[in-house]
Assembly symmetry: C2
Homo-oligomer: 247 residues x 2
Amino acid sequence: MKPMRRLLFEIAYRGTAYHGYQVQQNARTVAEVMQDAIEVVFKKREGITGCSRTDTGVHANQFYFHMDTQAGIPCEAAVIALNNSLPGDIAVKSCREVGPEFHARYSVKKKEYLYKIWDAPIRNPLLDGLVLHNRRRLDEALLNRCAQEFLGTHDFIGFCSAGGKMHDTVRTIYDCGVVRDGDLVEFRVTGNGFLYNMVRIMVGTLLQADYGRLKEGDITEIVASKDRSRGGITAGPEGLYLNRVLY
Amino acid sequence: MKPMRRLLFEIAYRGTAYHGYQVQQNARTVAEVMQDAIEVVFKKREGITGCSRTDTGVHANQFYFHMDTQAGIPCEAAVIALNNSLPGDIAVKSCREVGPEFHARYSVKKKEYLYKIWDAPIRNPLLDGLVLHNRRRLDEALLNRCAQEFLGTHDFIGFCSAGGKMHDTVRTIYDCGVVRDGDLVEFRVTGNGFLYNMVRIMVGTLLQADYGRLKEGDITEIVASKDRSRGGITAGPEGLYLNRVLY
């Protein structure tokens, strides 16, 4: 019998055309399209385990999944063959063999998300689906100062949408900031884990600054309140990117 | 009777979802979607005259059309109302009133095109539809030197696809170059006009360098030959952007 190998694949995708990463009934998802390609290349429909969930319309600059297989196909050949089989909005960036103790999801140490905002009166049609459009000029220096208040270990239950199934809602944020590059404003956050919709609620809360409704100290208070109704709306999925996954 | 006004609109669009700019039967085009929005805002389906044609899948960072109307709606209000009516992959950037002698197409002095190439072994799924993917590393310095040979006034009939209806195939290229920004290689060209598929054939010809089949002097010879079969293939539409239109 051929030995079982655990392969770790690094992928990236534009999420616009997908109902998120994870397989669902009657919906086109990244995992399902990936399994279709795997079936072509590996001649068998293998199960895959992703590093994270992503929602409908959310993108990934880096995402990992692992797969156990007895097929002997070399990693480099698998990358090329899968890319030939996949649509243009998904790419396999790398593949390597890992030990059986390695788990795409449970071995994750840190994740980094980006949230991109097109900050100008007129939308950018070339970035349709790739950014949130905000019409009124944001004060990125104020947003950056406020974002620092997310740093550290907190119970983020007030930054979690209903539907999340987490029991432990304490998470640690290592790094957080807002920068501007022309009309593009980027929120970047790194943590040991994120609750359901947590980054989008962080962004929606920071964007209250747009209405003059956010001042320094507010984020600290909203986090401490553990009350979802104190924060802003859940910002749209189109600006969100899983940017880096660290093992 | 209300006076007739000629309005000049500046727009931008992602062309992926459209069968080009100009209205066609049984195909969704930018002009048709624009006329739908105009009908909503101006309460009348007005005819519009574009500055150029663009093919299926080609983008525009800047594009103009003019429209004659008796409606009194101010330019700024028209911009806002049209953007509210249009899909996210088209935007109206500005509107101004021009004299009856001004013509969106015939008054054009220069046009600038960009052609974007993702130059890396693995495609970028976030730029799907927005760049041409080239797998082997291009020598942008060589491409840039070769591109200079397009400069000046030449009969570009050898850089024109069948289907073009031009009688005069002489065009002047004012500026032309290739630059790299990381894995993105950009070809930029400005001229007083362009034949059908001319920019895409220029790019396809430069890309023969990818196969070691282009050296300095070749472009000069290919242009002088006036023979379409001497140049490269017509590069795909996804990397092409009408970038600036100068009146």
